[in-house]
Symmetry: C2
Subunit: 254 residues, 2 copies
Amino acid sequence: TNNIIAISNQKGGVGKTTTAVTIATELALKGNSTLIIDCDPQANTTSSFGIISNENNSIYNILTNNNQMNHVIQKTDIKHLSILPSNKDLLAAEIELVDITNRETILKRQIENVKNQYDYIIIDTPPALGLLTLNCLTASKWVIIPMQVEYFALEGLNNLMHTIKLIKQKVNIEMSILGIILTMFDKRNKLSFEIEEQISQYYGEMLLGRIPRSIRLAEAPSHGLPIQEYDNDSSGAKAYREIVNKMINVIDQK
Amino acid sequence: TNNIIAISNQKGGVGKTTTAVTIATELALKGNSTLIIDCDPQANTTSSFGIISNENNSIYNILTNNNQMNHVIQKTDIKHLSILPSNKDLLAAEIELVDITNRETILKRQIENVKNQYDYIIIDTPPALGLLTLNCLTASKWVIIPMQVEYFALEGLNNLMHTIKLIKQKVNIEMSILGIILTMFDKRNKLSFEIEEQISQYYGEMLLGRIPRSIRLAEAPSHGLPIQEYDNDSSGAKAYREIVNKMINVIDQK
Ligand SMILES: Nc1ncnc2c1ncn2[C@@H]1O[C@H](COP(=O)(O)OP(=O)(O)OP(=O)(O)O)[C@@H](O)[C@H]1O
Ligand SMILES: Nc1ncnc2c1ncn2[C@@H]1O[C@H](COP(=O)(O)OP(=O)(O)OP(=O)(O)O)[C@@H](O)[C@H]1O
Ligand SMILES: [Mg+2]
Ligand SMILES: [Mg+2]
């Protein structure tokens, strides 16, 4: 596949992991062979599937020791969904990779070896614009930007758009923005609507939709289950299902 | 002063910036001469005070060109509160500092030059455990850990405690944990209480208190004002006031 999608925003706690886990699961449930890559040292994507990755079996070994992808990729409990897990070893990668030539395309080259086995590849990124996130954006054809409807989110978006433009010019001409998802949207407060209004003015055509604040989404990871397995009728699961359908449309049209 | 307090948690979006801004403002309003340092490339602390730091006048210049602290520190609109601002130049610092000897103590050495001018120094850190955060933790005598009452927060806490122990052993023997603050606490949902219960079991004596989810706290930064100036009677402002009183007690007892 060329459908490699990074979920990225350097602002913390905006729902990157929740979006990556939910979208990857939805694609797999539709029968698509899907790989999810956890590129965050916090390994929240890995624990969202109830997986604990041991010392020698994580994305750290792929980025620094050049291990075989297929030796590290594991199956999840969801049919058609595999995972390249993370663990805290990845913390060291940012510093260890600095002196390596072509340090920003390591992940891209590794994915080349396995991409034909999948219909979609989803990459969860850490809250930063360092070497790990650079590797993820360089390896991806598409970027989805989850954003909370709060003030800091607006300021960070301009930085992120600027970074994506730089990456497109310098290392990855194919990359484009698949869309923006407004997460944890609370209809009871006017700030949500004010920020949504401001985003629509500048980036209106990129808006994929809103995800309501839904406690079921926050509960699901503590059971090691994606929302579809934990509570498939929740408002959060339904909202993500709609977004995935829109997403597939955008990809098929390009 | 030796009262140098880092606000740190590598989990994103947990209220680090909101906590740093609110605590620093509260200390200044009580008449303490206070410096707040923004060590995050997102510069959310800087924009919380309505400040836009220009090219040559930010923490980036302190860490990489060895500029004088007093040439970069600015006054805020709050009496007794000054700021060492940040901007997106800081993004490059992580990579630029790698080859420098004693790269983790640059901030500590710079603070030595000005610490006698202040009663308290508060440092906002980025959502990561990289070189910038290492500089902040090495420079600090105390660490405050804001945590959301959500599942991922629990997992991240053990990693953070592990990192703090390492830093204490290797670079900064004086450092200790001032306390944990539970942020965006929502009394309407049982997950908040479940997680609070789990934290109390392991770290009960470190709990400084809870901050309720309060929309006024999320609105204040869009006006470039700390909560005390935006809405001093809000539940958020009151909860932080209580926490600051407890914090001062802990510091005075040691
Ligand atoms: N729509 C939602 N409603 C309620 N809670 C949510 C929603 N989406 C995410 N959450 C919760 O909010 C917290 C932050 O989400 P998440 O961890 O996915 O963000 P992130 O951007 O990946 O964070 P980080 O920057 O640390 O990687 C989590 O505890 C998650 O369970
Ligand atoms: N008690 C609260 N009630 C409601 N909203 C809050 C509260 N505390 C913080 N917020 C809002 O939640 C969002 C995240 O908070 P903040 O930016 O302070 O977290 P952070 O840990 O500094 O994030 P980052 O990891 O990106 O640095 C902000 O939009 C902020 O305004
Ligand atoms: Mg995440
Ligand atoms: Mg912050």
